[in-house]
Symmetry: C2
Amino acid sequence: MTIETTKVDRENLLYRLGFLTRRWRQVLDSAFQSLGVTDAAWRPLLHLHHMGDGIRQKDLAASLGIEGPTLTRILDQLIVKRLIDRSEDASDRRAKLLALSPQGRAMVTQITAKVATLEHDLLSEFSDLEIDQMTLFVERLEKRLQETRSRLKG
Amino acid sequence: MTIETTKVDRENLLYRLGFLTRRWRQVLDSAFQSLGVTDAAWRPLLHLHHMGDGIRQKDLAASLGIEGPTLTRILDQLIVKRLIDRSEDASDRRAKLLALSPQGRAMVTQITAKVATLEHDLLSEFSDLEIDQMTLFVERLEKRLQETRSRLKG
DNA sequence: GAAAAATAGATAGCATACTATCTATTATAT
DNA sequence: ATATAATAGATAGTATGCTATCTATTTTTC
């Protein structure tokens, strides 16, 4: 009697995550093309909306998990498009304060709806339990990666 | 009586995968700096080793899941470093055939060992069951993303 | 209170992904 | 047989991540 086993290729787990990320980015880029914002550009909008107006660039960058220079460039685009306002901080003249413009707020509404639909659609075939497991797994792996990284650097 | 529940933020699952990928790439870049190859460069070496000498660029690109132009540029580097040989295909003069050089083979040995160690270390706190679940999840998600992508494009 | 260190942000340069397009070939169709 | 289509690979241009470094401030230290 032969037992059918699902062959899982464990070797490639981390590798495949990269794949997944690229595909997800491509999907988002296609979906948002009509709105005129790219994957990298809409995230700052949502995070700014979530954190509230008046935050500093460095805090937004930290929230996004990207470095300052990366955010600077993306903000430049968003400011040209009048979606975000960047103003001086009177109490600390090194800093800049960020706020959503009215157009930015309207864009956030559109984006939120679209992302929710896409994510819901993509995850619809998975059970809540599976999604929870996956999310926890990702969190743990993330921590472990950060440890490993600082170990290699230090 | 209050029940302690683990708060899982499902909203961010796909977003966090991007995070994870960046971190993993950073870890690999740090680890391979001494070998003189980057994250993007060692993968073609391993895939070529796995597929065997004499394959074409387009097949290697497909195996890696990247586009032709991206591979072309990475191959340029690997050929300059004498890790890969690129020769003409006599039967089809459009095509180029790829093969590992002796140095390339030696590099593959080093890389294989290093990647295995890193992955094993990173996944050591997870059970086999968890890793299998995760891998299957990633596979399913990948398929679903591909469907969604072609739907959006077509 | 002046010198040194830390912080916020910008700029420059590199790596790697993409798409669009070019050249050179090979395959197909009329 | 020739014209068209398809394929392999290269090149060019764009986007987004990084690190290193610069300026302008603020904070800390002595």
